[in-house]
């Protein structure tokens, strides 16, 4: 029974990994660009939730939407002020731009919020429920289910809607998309908004169930790399499966080997993937 509980807990956390990783894979698939600050977007989502609760006394519905909106605006702003200018530049500028951004956001958070761990005050999501002998915190359950639903929604948005077709058209062939009357610049801006917004919601969902400090951004950023590498670059559905798998692997290795080894196992998996299957489960190189 304990082991079953570990598995369910891992899958629920993995669902949130899937949500923020789908944002990273969207940017990679759209513009062949890696956002090193993606984990910091998740971290900011957590602090937005925290501030909304502490200052405004908002409930989960309010702070989840607030985190989504705040990060969406931030993502668009970063695209317009920074990414748009470096995307045509040398590789060094592309990598440095978001890498520097990650440092800036991470250490600004350290400076403002200090390195201490914080957690959200109790909301109506507090408490645990008993599912046939498995005890689960309500917040984890709601967060996990909502994350799966949102990741699937993003997948459907990309594959079934006209807007999604426009986004994928730009990803496939920028020039041809322009000839069809699509503005690539606007589509890429939208992708950055969606990507950061997904990270923001994931952060707010994480904040309801887990304590955190400013350094989580680094961990989540690396986890997102591993999820995207496993799921295949550019595949949202792939990152859903991969997120669940990584959550599961982390939970089981923490259970069997001890908590400090869970990240070692996951990063080791990443190196093994690079060697043996760089295209991931569902992607292409």
């Amino acid at each position: 029974m304990v082991f079953l509980q570990v598995i369910v807990g891992g899958l629920l956390l993995g669902a949130i990994y899937a949500l923020f990783s789908s944002g990273l894979t969207l940017i990679w698939g759209m513009m062949n660009f890696i956002n090193f600050a993606h984990g910091e977007f998740v971290m900011l989502g957590m602090y937005v939730a925290f501030l909304v609760v502490v200052w405004l006394g908002g409930g989960p519905a309010v702070f989840i939407i607030a985190a989504a909106m705040a990060l969406l605006v931030l993502g668009v702003g970063i695209y317009l002020s920074l990414i748009r200018h470096v995307i045509r530049g040398p590789m060094l500028a592309q990598i440095l731009s978001t890498f520097g951004l990650a440092l800036l956001l991470r250490y600004s958070a350290f400076y403002i919020f200090s390195a201490n761990f914080v957690s959200l005050p109790q909301t109506w999501l507090a408490g645990t429920i008993n599912l046939g002998g498995i005890f689960l915190p309500v917040a984890q359950l709601v967060g996990g289910v909502l994350a799966i639903a949102l990741t699937l929604a993003l997948h459907l948005l990309l594959t079934r809607s006209a807007m999604g077709s426009r986004l994928l058209a730009v990803a496939e062939d920028r020039a041809a998309a322009m000839l069809m009357g699509i503005r690539p610049d606007r589509m890429q801006m939208l992708a950055w908004g969606l990507s950061a917004g997904a990270a923001g919601i994931a952060g707010a969902l994480l904040a309801t169930a887990y304590p955190w400090s400013p350094s989580v951004g680094e961990t989540f950023g690396l986890i997102a790399f591993v999820v995207v590498a496993l799921g295949g670059f550019g595949s949202v559905l792939g990152s859903l499966y991969a997120g669940l798998i990584i959550g599961l692997i982390q939970a089981i290795s923490a259970f069997w080997l001890g908590a400090i080894y869970k990240d070692i196992v996951v990063y080791g998996l990443f190196v093994a993937l690079l060697w043996f299957r760089p295209q991931g489960l569902m992607g292409k190189v």
């Binding site: 440095l96 440092l103 070692i264 690079l274 760089p278």
Partner: protein, 328 residues
């Protein structure tokens, strides 16, 4: 006036300034900064070989720095060998690790390499912190008092300064040598366009591999020098992400892929870092890294060629301006 400053003269002046620096400015504070400057210049110049010349941006070079830093103290704590004996082992381990990372990722596009470097560096950092054989989270210590000159444990900063300066000179000589050889042209061709380089018959993967191995070897030496001077190492000061960040920012600020770029970057950044630490007191390290992040973003956005390219653009205009004024 600017015309008179020919490259050859500039190098002689630079060499003289570096040689005389600890004799002229003899305070402990200045010597500290001088040694920190040399170490930053060595690390960034080593990074520059693969990150600058070949254009393969590593954001996890701390893994080589850390290997170079750990082996000397590991040899000392295991068998009581002088730390300097661990340098070759550190180099060998770093080259081995560079093969392990380069072989799979250099088949793929450049982003994979960057992602792999950051993940592997983090993997090693966490693993080192849990491994009792290398002191786990506490780390390792070197000889407290020198048992002989071979321990290279000095009270004064001056011997370290000249040791580091010699290594920097060697590294710059190697880089100059590469620049002029076919290998250097290969590297720049790969940076400009990998596909074009391959179609012209450049052995792309092998060249990138060799550049990474050479860079790893010198970065490892930088780590060894650091630890021989401080006599102490722990996972964060060996493999921490900020060690990698400093190499990238120093090289990129001065001009990645140029011989003297890392020196210029270190010349600006190390005094700046020391100043911010003094101004902001103990809590200043956080602000230093906010500053680092800001500088990196600004370089990427406005001046990806670093100060070197900025100077190349500004110098002719300045020359014209000064020339006019002198002639009138």
């Amino acid at each position: 006036m600017i015309k008179a400053l020919s490259p050859r003269l500039a190098i002689i002046l630079l060499a003289a300034a570096l040689l005389l620096y600890p004799l002229v400015l003899s305070g402990a504070f200045y010597r500290d900064i001088g040694v920190a400057f040399l170490l930053a210049a060595i690390s960034a110049s080593a990074w520059n070989i693969v990150g600058g010349y070949a254009g393969q941006v590593s954001v996890g070079h701390s893994m080589f720095f850390g290997l170079g830093a750990y082996t000397p103290l590991l040899f000392y704590s295991l068998w009581g060998w002088p730390p300097i004996a661990g340098i070759p082992a550190g180099i060998a381990l770093s080259i081995g690790l560079s093969l392990l990372i380069g072989m799979p990722t250099f088949r793929l596009t450049g982003h994979y390499f960057s992602m792999a470097t950051i993940a592997v560096a983090e993997l090693i950092r966490i693993f080192t912190g849990t491994w009792d054989f290398v002191g786990a989270a506490i780390g390792l210590q070197g000889p407290a008092i020198a048992r002989g000159w071979w321990d290279l444990t000095f009270r004064s900063e001056v011997p370290y300064y000249y040791l580091f300066l010699a290594v920097l000179a060697l590294l710059l000589a190697v880089t100059t040598f590469i620049e002029r050889r076919r290998f250097g042209f290969y590297l720049r061709a790969i940076k400009a366009s990998e596909r074009a380089a391959r179609s012209l018959g450049v052995p792309v993967r092998r060249t990138k591999m060799q550049a990474l191995a050479l860079s790893a070897a010198f970065t490892s030496v930088a780590g060894s020098l650091y630890v021989i001077k401080t006599g102490f190492i722990d996972p964060d000061s060996a493999f921490g992400i900020l060690i990698s960040v400093q190499m990238v920012i120093v090289a990129a600020l001065g001009g990645a892929g140029t011989l003297f770029g890392p020196l210029v970057g270190a010349l600006i950044l190390i005094p700046l870092q020391s100043a911010t630490n003094t101004w902001f007191g103990g809590g200043g390290s956080g602000l230093t890294y906010i500053l680092y992040g800001g500088i990196i973003v600004l370089i990427a956005r406005f001046e990806p060629g670093g100060l070197f390219e900025l100077w190349q653009r500004v110098a002719p205009a300045l020359h014209k301006l000064l020339g006019k004024r002198l002639h009138v």
